[in-house]
Assembly symmetry: C2
Homo-oligomer: 296 residues x 2
């Protein structure tokens, strides 16, 4: 495994792999503080690619002024051990100065998909994501890029960007990885106190309750599903709901309050953002209502 810290070293390392015939290239962009979710992306990358590149970069552009850029957890040594163990060939760890040597004037933005959910709560966040992912894709020029479905909106936005701009890469979305008790893995889970960690289970529990209500026929419309989500989350004293939404996926369009889920032809997402103190957690479930059995 080779660790590179400049764009030039990265391009050299990639050129070496490409000229040696080690294509296709798979790319796993991360903000570090890696967990089993990232490990699953690396393993999937290893299945589809002959060279696996991981980047570790906490991107200031996608953090709002009152967000946790400065305190975002970092542990390079542990990250490198995980990357090595999971088969990364090249790990790219640029500084902020290497990524943004001059004030960046260019923005890549995806309209409408970014006004909902996390886009509404975190203005500018997705412009920061699409811009930095564009940069990274241009640096690595991978055949595949791997993203976790925990950030389902991010997957939807990046797929749209890649398709709209004809970027020569395939976005591969990988399933959410959870703790044994259901909590979706996140680098931010480390912020939680013991009590918050326990109550954070309401996210996955409410999604499960909503799935069951849909299967039972107790929740047939978006509005009924939202009610189940909200009432389950409200059982936690510490939980403060940012959003609990039911939308089409990947277009993230609103469903009419009385529209039955079964009438929606494609996929649907139930998406949650819930705050525990200053820590904001997200979770979601993407499913095809017509194939309700696939939910279980």
């Amino acid at each position: 495994m080779r660790v590179v810290r400049t764009v030039e070293q990265l391009r050299e390392a990639l050129e070496y792999m490409r000229s040696g015939g080690h294509s296709p290239i798979g790319f796993v962009p991360t903000m570090g503080y890696l967990h089993e979710g990232h490990a699953s992306l690396l393993r999937r990358a290893g299945e589809l690619s002959n060279t696996v590149v991981m980047s570790i970069f906490v991107n200031p552009l996608q953090f709002g002024p009152n967000e946790d850029f400065a305190s975002y957890p970092r542990d390079e040594q542990r990250d490198l051990e995980l990357a090595e163990r999971e088969g990364a060939d090249i790990v790219f760890i640029p500084t902020v100065e290497e990524m943004y040597p001059q004030a960046i004037r260019t923005t890549v933005s995806v309209a409408s998909l970014t006004t909902q959910l996390c886009g509404a709560s975190r203005p500018g966040h997705f412009d920061g994501v699409t811009t930095v992912v564009s940069k990274l894709l241009h640096m690595v020029q991978p055949d595949y890029a791997f993203f976790g479905l925990k950030d389902a909106q991010q997957v939807a936005v990046l797929r749209r960007m890649v398709s709209d701009l004809n970027m020569p890469v395939e976005i591969v979305a990988c399933p959410i990885v959870r703790e044994a008790d259901g909590l979706a893995l996140s680098s931010r889970n480390v912020y939680l106190s013991g009590e918050q960690r326990e109550e954070a289970l309401v996210l996955s529990r409410s999604l499960r309750a909503a799935r069951e209500a849909i299967l039972d026929g107790r929740a047939r419309t978006a509005s009924e599903v939202r009610q189940v989500l909200v009432s389950e989350i409200s059982t936690s004293r510490l939980a403060e709901i940012d959003y609990a939404e039911v939308l089409t996926f990947p277009d993230l369009e609103n469903l009419g309050d009385n529209e039955t889920l079964a009438s929606v032809p494609g996929e649907i997402i139930m998406a949650l953002a819930v705050k525990f103190g200053r820590t904001r957690l997200i979770d979601n479930n993407v499913f095809i209502p017509k194939e309700a059995a696939a939910l279980v």
Copy 2:
């Protein structure tokens, strides 16, 4: 020479050239109705590349609602003859539907460089340019892309986009090509009546007058240069000035009215947009004030 009309055919044709070792790839994006200026881009591309790709696409995204998208001149047969004669290997002629199969939600935009000059007169124009050029660069993945300096602001904007987004391509700027009498070549010159065509010479004439005034020491500041430009253009009864500006290049920053050009460390642009009836013409001169002799 191969003519392709779909992105898929284009990628196949490029893959064939690449796998045959015919790299580097040079790319000349155009809106067609080709003239000697485009021919000079193709020739330069031929010098630097083993495969020359030209695109012909009148991009609706970069035209304002009251601009000449519908009437923009088109002549595919003549364009193909010129492309063949000047050594293009692949000509890509997509339809609007091929370029935009779904409503495009993604925009690439470059801030600040696009608020001046043509950006001020043509709101949204440069977003249309940067977005479509991003798409084309992702389709062709060229080593070099060639643009004429007549659209000097476009060159500045695209260079910034490529650098900010780490696009793996070099933007090659090529000199303005002029008629024997000085008029800069433009597909839009065909709109001019006989009388307008004659008076359109004030653009190049005023740039020449300004250069002479700078060399003579009669015009030392941006404001004095602007005066020369405006007074020369005003000798035409038909000319209506959109802008006549003196800015730094490629950052397109304003100079103080009393700042002497000689104190500017880098390049300077004198840029003009002048309307004759409904036809808007542009012209410019980029130079290094400290090396005034290079102006002649």
